[in-house]
Symmetry: C2
Subunit: 357 residues, 2 copies
């Protein structure tokens, strides 16, 4: 379909593209194979169904649509969805009224970070009638203001830390070997003086390189402190990984037409039981801020083969610290999903800034 010939051809391609859009649009909302007649009507009546039929034939040859059986309408293939998303993605814009409503609902009585996460997830799932997923902001990208270590038991340390955003967080860290109190104080001092105002990921990286540079001839003591500090930082970064995803709205799947195909829904639920793949997916694209759309087979993860996942990053002080998204069957209202996810990722970014952690 991509083609860079004469203006004449361009016009034709343009029309073909519009036909595809209409097929996707119609199919997404009705879940019924789309006929040439339907498309002709939607295109404003100045084109006949026969012409549309021809175009659809071409689209089928090119792999953008397919027929469930002869003498049935067309449904989009994965490539079809992909094409559709690629061309619409950039100029979607939530209608102002809708955006305002979302913002109003979003901000209604919300105070803690936990509530932010839950509200986001809830709104995604309710708006899109699919499961909403929200990553917790990754601790790696937070900036350390101050850290305190308290020995609570042998091999066990309580870490209290204050981030630049004044969030107070605390972790219980279990160490491989015991550390005396005096040593602990040295570690605290070391980190507070050398690494104040750094992101945790950077602290970890710097500690690692320090350790490598330190030749054996250097003081053992310093190396020991750095090593222990790294162990603590690492286990903090690691800690949240496990529950770093929150979701909601599994029940919505049930309402969808796809439900007829039990196997898909079942796969989806299984998916949620074994969320590792999902976590990996989202982590992988964490650095990227914009919207990403994964359609069906494009997903490397087997479970997700028949689903689409749309995600978008949210930011804190200009850095992407997490992602939100929606997951549902391949036949999904991409327009609406893109609009909503985009809008909510803006809202969450705004909210994070003003929230009292």
């Amino acid at each position: 379909m991509y083609n860079y010939n004469t203006g004449r051809r361009d016009k034709k391609e343009e029309r073909k593209s519009r036909v595809l859009e209409h097929v996707v649009h119609a199919y997404v909302s009705t879940a019924v194979p789309v006929s040439s007649k339907t498309v002709a009507a939607r295109m404003g009546g100045n084109i006949s169904s026969a012409t549309v039929r021809n175009i659809m034939g071409e689209l089928e040859e090119e792999g953008y649509v397919e027929q469930p059986h002869t003498s049935a309408g067309r449904i989009p293939t994965h490539s079809g969805y992909r094409y559709y998303v690629d061309i619409t993605k950039d100029h979607i814009r939530l209608r102002k009224k809708e955006a305002e409503r979302l913002a109003r609902e979003y901000n209604w009585r919300i105070r803690t970070i936990k509530e932010v996460i839950e509200r986001t997830s809830f709104l995604i799932s309710r708006e899109l009638h699919n499961a909403g997923i929200v990553m917790w902001p990754s601790i790696e990208d937070f900036y350390l203001k101050h850290m305190e270590l308290v020995k609570v038991r042998t091999e066990t340390v309580l870490v209290i830390l204050v981030t630049m955003t004044n969030a107070v967080k605390n972790y219980i860290v279990r160490l491989e070997r015991d550390i005396e109190k005096a040593q602990l104080e040295k570690i605290t001092n070391y980190i507070n003086t050398n690494h104040e105002h750094s992101a945790f990921s950077r602290i970890a990286a710097e500690l690692r390189s320090t350790l490598e540079d330190t030749s054996d001839s250097d003081r053992q003591d310093a190396a020991g402190i750095a090593r222990s500090a790294l162990a603590i930082i690492d286990s903090i970064i690691h800690e949240k990984m496990e529950n770093e995803i929150y979701w909601e709205g599994l029940d919505y799947f049930m309402g969808e037409a796809e439900f007829q195909d039990v196997s898909i829904t079942r796969r989806l639920l299984q998916m949620f039981s074994e969320r590792d793949d999902l976590i990996r997916l989202m982590r992988k694209e964490l650095p990227y801020r914009g919207i990403k759309v994964h359609i069906g087979e494009e997903n490397s993860c087997k479970m997700l083969k028949e689903c689409s996942v749309i995600t978008s990053g949210y930011t804190l002080h200009g850095r992407t610290v997490g992602r939100i998204g929606v997951i549902g069957p391949t036949r999904m209202d991409y327009d609406h999903a893109l609009r909503t996810v985009s809008c909510l990722s803006d809202l969450i970014s705004l909210k994070l800034r003003e929230i009292d952690w």
Copy 2:
């Protein structure tokens, strides 16, 4: 069916009871209405299907079984399940081999309380092919060994506490008004000296009565300390309430025959979205240690009308501190469920004792 007449009659009732048992048994495993022939066969062949038919007729009149339609087999009613559970519940005993296998799987590489919760839930859902639910042990019933308060910000206090089981827990508590450091120390002192080795619920109760007894003429200072202490203890007890339930195995519903009836499954999933009812249900019977079985309509909660919930308490140092359970369609293998839940509640109680929190 209950009847206290001659020995002759007893024998007859006994047989009727066995017929009902077989109906439940057969229906539970096949999900197909049970015919008189099937029951006759299962009873060992020394009874004819015609006789069974008569008995089933009586059972139907008495409301223990029903027919989906004339000329179909019988299925148990809720009363039928209830009767069945009541008579079998007391002499269920997990086969030794099965129990050993469970114990082995249970204990495999488990260290933290979180892992205990997750493992329990996982095993319930995997064994019973339904959703497993596990309450976190309620902090109220833990015994305080030592408490430490750290002021981290205005109106915000970090509470570190060590329980009698050597568990270290920590909470961030937000207060209504600020407390100075000196005052904080007094509070710490007050609790540590007056309430060491008490359960949190008792500490709260005692503080409350102290406050009531304290007449206005008493020293204001003491009252203030008690009040602040109470606020802190209360918010700690309250804190965990929200997430005090963990579950797993939603996907198993899908596999079951009941799945044909989408509305039930859907209701179940919705149920899990709005878990408040479930939490309330479990909290209500928390003090009771033994197994409780809720069948279908007996549940006050609408969502649960078509489900059964089986729960059992688990203990720590002789006190019931939480409950575990399974939730699924009314047609559930009650035998297996009772056995498994009972066994796992023993296992979790044992494990809690030895776990390194």
